[in-house]
């Protein structure tokens, strides 16, 4: 093929693919920022292997005239850093995909005929500048040039990004970027390639962040001042975020010796008046389960950020899945209430993380924020995070001498005292206990305490966030989703353009909002879409509402759904 120009598109999917260690992340970070700053709507997401060097990873950046917040299969422009890349994303290359690569590297045998290629001598340029390590900056420049990013802004961005490096490295990166930029401009000017994305001045000032940032910001807004965790992908990003802002916000950030310590620290911290959380994943969370039961018994608030990845066991450590819903739902031995939130968007992630702290404190229960690798690692621009004041609600009281931690109460919640605040004493106990928090073997009291703990469910249900209905009220087909599939299903719905199909998205998956059953019953057909192999949310719906959904669309290969995939698979089950 030789028609190497690109249809003038206003929503361009750029994919960069190469080995770990080749600097794709740098490209992503610089480009998403500078493109957004140029007024383009952007969306960036990545998939990568569990290794530091080698292998084959890819990043998708969508650059668009309208808001975009979900991955597509389609590749409009591919920048392959090595030959393996062509294989790695091979299935997604179609005849309109323009490959902007180094031909001698990609096709040493000249077998480029099947592709629509533009040759750029990345490595020659890079070695001219100072060596192979500049290849990624050259590529960054190519994309920047292609989208006519302001040259000065681009330079500044590189300068900012490499702050801390020597001036010579900064200069070389600027040069490399500039050379790539110029190469792209030449191509554009020659009409060999062109894009038609409209910049909006407002977008330039929008917020750009990923899910990890959003959870971290929400947590801080919720008053989080203590986080204890043990590193585990993909949850570590939140720990890193909070560590970066610990000085500013006065946060205790402790990397514990293991997850068990982390969770028990978190409970100790709440007891003593902190607002504490853990951030963890799969097997790390499994180790915390005994302490989740402890939270249940102590009636301790606690916020658990559980970033899902495919299991069982180590599974695919850097991939995504929605496979830990049941794990969260039934974690901990014994019976006690809990709340599970599952953000669908960055705004949700901020809002729900914030809300998690208040709900935990209000109901004195574990509150989960269930995210996943996809959400953690995806960036896009949003106009605002949607919280206008911090509103961290502190529910503890100042005690007096008559204070009893577990006073039996109608709604199950007893006022929570803090040791050292007031003249009372605060005793909490992992054994079954009396109102004062001391061990009891009074079996009637046991029943009263068990009932008290479970009684909270009533108000927790009333307080549940309702699902969000996207589309018309008088649907005949209802698509149900939860958590991170929000935007991709929403975009697919728009693409499908059918007014008998609506989408019901759950940001709170437990307890379910009381109206859930009503929504389901109105539909002729209900399709649950989720990212696991057994349909865990469909199961939960069946259990709580008795409603057996008609179709389950499931995916569990470690990647998020794409828009095309949702449309395709939906078209298989709805006429």
């Amino acid at each position: 093929m030789s028609h190497s120009s690109v249809e003038k598109k206003d929503d361009v999917s750029v994919v960069l693919c190469g080995e770990a260690g080749q600097g794709i992340q740098t490209v992503e970070q610089i480009l998403t920022k500078v493109l957004k700053f140029s007024g383009y709507n952007i969306f960036g997401t990545k998939e990568y292997m569990s290794r530091v060097r080698g292998g084959s990873n890819s990043t998708q950046i969508r650059v668009s005239s309208r808001r975009v917040s979900s991955p597509v299969d389609r590749i409009d422009i591919l920048i392959p850093f090595d030959r393996k890349a062509l294989e790695h994303v091979g299935r997604r290359i179609h005849e309109d995909t323009v490959i902007i690569g180094e031909m001698k590297e990609l096709f040493p045998d000249g077998d480029d005929k099947a592709f629509n290629c533009i040759d750029i001598h990345y490595s020659d340029i890079a070695s001219d500048v100072g060596g192979a390590i500049y290849i990624n900056t050259v590529a960054t420049g190519v994309i920047a040039g292609l989208f006519s990013v302001d040259r000065r802004q681009f330079d500044d961005m590189i300068e900012t990004f490499f702050t801390g490096s020597s001036q010579s490295i900064i200069d070389k990166n600027k040069e490399a970027g500039g050379r790539g930029y110029d190469a792209a401009r030449t191509l554009v000017d020659a009409g060999r390639i062109g894009v038609d994305v409209t910049a909006h001045p407002d977008v330039a000032g929008e917020i750009l962040m990923n899910g990890a940032d959003a959870v971290g910001i929400g947590a801080i807004a919720g008053g989080c001042n203590f986080v204890a965790s043990y590193p585990m992908s993909p949850s570590t990003a939140v720990l890193v975020f909070l560590a970066a802002h610990a000085d500013e916000f006065g946060i205790v950030v402790e990397q514990a010796e293991d997850e068990i310590a982390a969770m028990n620290m978190t409970l100790g911290a709440w007891y003593a008046g902190a607002r504490a959380m853990v951030t963890t994943s799969g097997g790390g969370f499994a180790l915390m389960e005994e302490a989740v039961g402890l939270a249940g018994m102590l009636e301790s608030p606690v916020v658990i950020h559980l970033a899902q990845r495919p299991g069982p066991a180590t599974g695919l450590p850097t991939r995504t899945e929605q496979g830990d819903l049941q794990l969260a739902l039934y974690s901990g031995h014994g019976e006690f209430p809990r709340i599970i939130m599952a953000p669908g968007s960055l705004e949700d992630a901020v809002h729900l993380s914030h809300r998690a702290f208040n709900a935990a404190d209000k109901f004195q229960v574990p509150v989960f924020i269930l995210t996943d690798q996809y959400l953690m690692d995806s960036y896009y621009n949003i106009p605002s995070v949607g919280i206008s004041d911090t509103g961290a609600i502190h529910c503890f009281i100042e005690t007096d001498e008559s204070y009893k931690r577990y006073v039996l109460s109608e709604n199950g919640v007893s006022p929570r005292g803090i040791p050292g605040f007031g003249t009372g004493l605060v005793s909490v106990d992992s054994d079954e206990h009396d109102e004062e928090g001391h061990i009891t073997e009074d079996l009637d009291l046991r029943v009263a305490m068990a009932d008290k703990r479970l009684a909270k469910m009533t108000e927790m249900e009333k307080d549940a966030l309702p699902p969000e209905l996207i589309g018309k009220d008088d649907y005949s087909v209802l698509i149900v989703g939860w958590g991170s599939t929000y935007h991709v299903i929403k975009e697919a719905l728009t693409m499908m353009n059918r007014d008998d199909v609506s989408f019901l998205h759950f940001k709170q998956v437990y307890p379910l909002h009381p109206l859930t059953a009503d929504y389901l019953k109105k539909a002729r057909s209900v399709v649950v879409i989720e990212g696991n192999a057994t349909g865990q949310f469909a199961n939960l719906i069946k259990l709580r509402t008795g409603y057996d959904v008609h179709h389950r669309i499931l995916k569990y290969n470690g990647l998020q759904y794409t828009v095309e995939e949702v449309t395709d698979r939906l078209s298989e089950v709805i006429e």
Partner: protein, 288 residues
């Protein structure tokens, strides 16, 4: 007897008559009283076991958590409110078995807490299995032919980890135990007090008599700042030595390394988040 500030009044104590835990309880309450600690400003965290029931018998704030997990809880309690005096208490199984990883890492972390380990060389609450400190040959329904592993030497390990305060006491000696606890609580940093404790129901080997015969105090001239001497005494001595083995006051305290306390000492529960800073942070994401 006059009721002290830490006495509970009429309560049913679930220990066996004659148990060494009673001596520890008395020494602990005595030490706290003499130190002038106020019950509302003290937290005792514990795990699960006979020893771990102790805080229920002290009039103070109690965090009775999971078997083996008192130390992380105590560490966090202190970190959330450094104004509290914090003690973690439990048995040898609790602290050295289930909780072994927290034990070694807490020593490294060096929070300003006192860890009191009731060492009865047996799992008592679960009715008499071997613990990490059981002697070789100790027979139980699980160790039917007797223990074969070398007992866990907590003193030697603590010294190896360069712990900031390491001591051993004997439940049968009220005065010196009280004194050691006082020094440990007053010490700034992680302080281990292992207290040898006869279990009259499940340990018929290491009895009061046995401990009397097999322990001895460091001589008055002993210098606890000498790490090698401490190690030597922990590993080589014929009898189990009692008293303070090792003090290393130079280690930074965990709380001092925490961002909230760089500039002020207010406990976390009194703090409210600064909205302006938060919106500043959010707005930073609008910029390049």
């Amino acid at each position: 007897m006059k009721k002290g500030p830490f006495d509970m009044g009429q309560i049913d104590i679930a220990w066996c008559p004659g148990c060494g835990n009673f001596g520890i309880l008395t020494a602990l309450k005595g030490a706290l009283t003499e130190l002038g600690v106020r019950p509302e400003k003290l937290v005792i965290a514990s795990g699960i076991g006979q020893a771990a029931k102790t805080p229920h018998y002290v009039r103070t704030n109690v965090f009775n958590g999971l078997h083996g997990r008192a130390v992380p809880a105590a560490t966090a309690i202190k970190a959330a409110n450094p104004g509290l005096t914090v003690i973690a208490e439990g048995g040898d199984g609790d602290m050295y078995g289930e909780g072994g990883n927290h034990f070694i890492h807490a020593i490294r972390r060096n929070p300003d807490i006192t860890v009191i380990v009731h060492n009865n060389m047996v799992y008592a609450l679960t009715k008499g299995q071997a613990s990490p400190t059981s002697s070789i040959g100790f027979k139980t329904p699980v160790q039917v032919r007797g223990v074969t592993e070398e007992p866990f030497n907590a003193i030697a390990v603590s010294v190896a980890l360069n712990a900031s305060f390491v001591a051993r006491a004997f439940a049968g000696d009220h005065d010196q135990t009280k004194d050691i606890i006082k020094k440990a609580v007053s010490h700034r940093g992680f302080a281990l007090v292992e207290i040898l404790q006869p279990c009259v129901s499940f340990n018929k080997v290491n009895t009061y008599q046995w401990f009397k015969e097999n322990t001895a105090y460091h001589e008055a001239s002993y210098d606890p700042s000498d790490r090698f001497a401490a190690f030597k005494r922990a590993t080589e001595a014929e009898k189990m030595l009692l008293g303070i083995f090792y003090v290393n006051p130079d280690k930074p305290c965990f709380e001092d390394t925490l961002p909230p306390y760089y500039k002020e000492t207010t406990p976390l529960f009194k703090r409210r988040i600064d909205g302006e800073k938060l919106f500043g942070l959010i707005d930073s994401r609008r910029r390049v």
